[in-house]
């Protein structure tokens, strides 16, 4: 799932939790929420924060670019 989908899912879970339900349901929902929040963060951190110059347009090869 994309980050967008993950965070929408997380919002849904939280709303369900706040709406009510048995203790068992709540525990299950919370665990799902925990899992989703971990996946959200992981999804965001997939990008490496690199700044680079495209040296080969056909093969998407890059080299580091220093911006001063």
């Amino acid at each position: 799932m994309s980050f967008e989908q993950l965070i929408q899912e997380l919002e849904k879970v939280v709303k369900q939790l706040e709406a009510g339900g048995s203790l068992d349901e709540s525990i299950e929902l919370f665990q799902r929420g925990l899992e989703l929040s971990r996946e959200c963060i992981a999804s965001l951190n997939q990008s490496k924060g690199k700044i680079s110059l495209l040296t080969d347009e056909l093969n998407n090869l890059t080299e580091e670019l220093k911006i001063d």
Partner: protein, 414 residues
Amino acid sequence: MGIIHKKVNAQEKNYISVSELNAAIKTVLLHTMERSILVFGEVSGFKISGGHAYFTLKDKSSQISCVCFSCSRTYIPKDGESVICEGAVDYWEKGGRLSFSVKSIEAVGKGILYLEFERLKAKLLGEGLFDAEKKKPIPAFAKNILVVTSKTGAVIRDIVTTVRRKNPVVNIVVKDVKVQGATAAAEICEALKKVDKLGYDVIIIARGGGSLEDLAPFYDENLVRVIFAMKTPVISAVGHETDFSLCDLVADARAATPTAAAELAAYDYYALINNVSALLNRAQRSAASKFKLAVSRVKLAGGALAARLNAKHAASQNRVRFLAFEASKKLQNTFTDKAHRLEKLNIALDNLSPLKILETGYFKVLNKFGESVSCVKALTVGDKVTAVGGDGRFAATVDEIKMNEENPCISQEV
């Protein structure tokens, strides 16, 4: 034109100094050019400094630098405007620079370049290339951004700085291109076609400000068509603050500055992390409160149960205690009764005890074997007997025996 020869060191050489050259050029100009000429052309790069105007006058293939001293007295044109300038060619000897010294400027209408762009814009608009519905949405969470711009200069630096301020993780790749000049448009087109296939989340086309002809590549018809056909969303940030270039119009989004383009392309990482944390907190609190509620319900039920058990228990305990008390009382009474009876019996028994009888004056008679004698029948005169009394015993011999006529001995010892 005659070149001035000079004799140096008795050798004839055909060279002159720079000053002499410049002076010669000035002379030629003064002598051959009219003192007042009218020139028609398009204005570009118009700026006023210290009360004087400096600009370029151009046509399709040529241009010349102009200066208008004390320009306040004349018409002030805008870049792209077509004008007629009255003035004279001037040659600045010291700097060796030629310029057109303008005395007055007259407006004649919009510039050629400008008109051409307007015409092209209308044509492309008619084809629907600028339609809003055809524009692709800019992704909300881009992981990889590609910037088509010059790899040196303020533009890329501003974009990188702006992005990094709010997002440390997004990857930024730069495709270095020429952003002005005759070959720029074609170069940018080729670059865009290739990078569109590389799967970037969004592409920014950016360049800094400049005059209309500086920006000409971004009014190129081919460029517009290439951008329109691209699969990757494109943000255009091409120089003009107020006027939109054709690149701006066809792109999926337009930013007034490279900084604005960066804001559009990159999401706020820190805000998102906070968002996720906040959601998790809400979930935690919700679950925790439910759990607490359940625990208190259990406690409450347990308490009620315990209270009931205690009450029941207390009641039974009391009953048991009561019964035990009763029983022990009864037991005691019985015991006391029995004890009394026992005592009575003891007393009675005691009274009946042979010892007691002996104490009252009776003696037990034992024969020579130590056996008890209860009948005179068992005795023979001369027998040695022992008489046992309450306080002692004595030995005796049987002298005389007299049996009763009634009460015969029933003892078996006879």
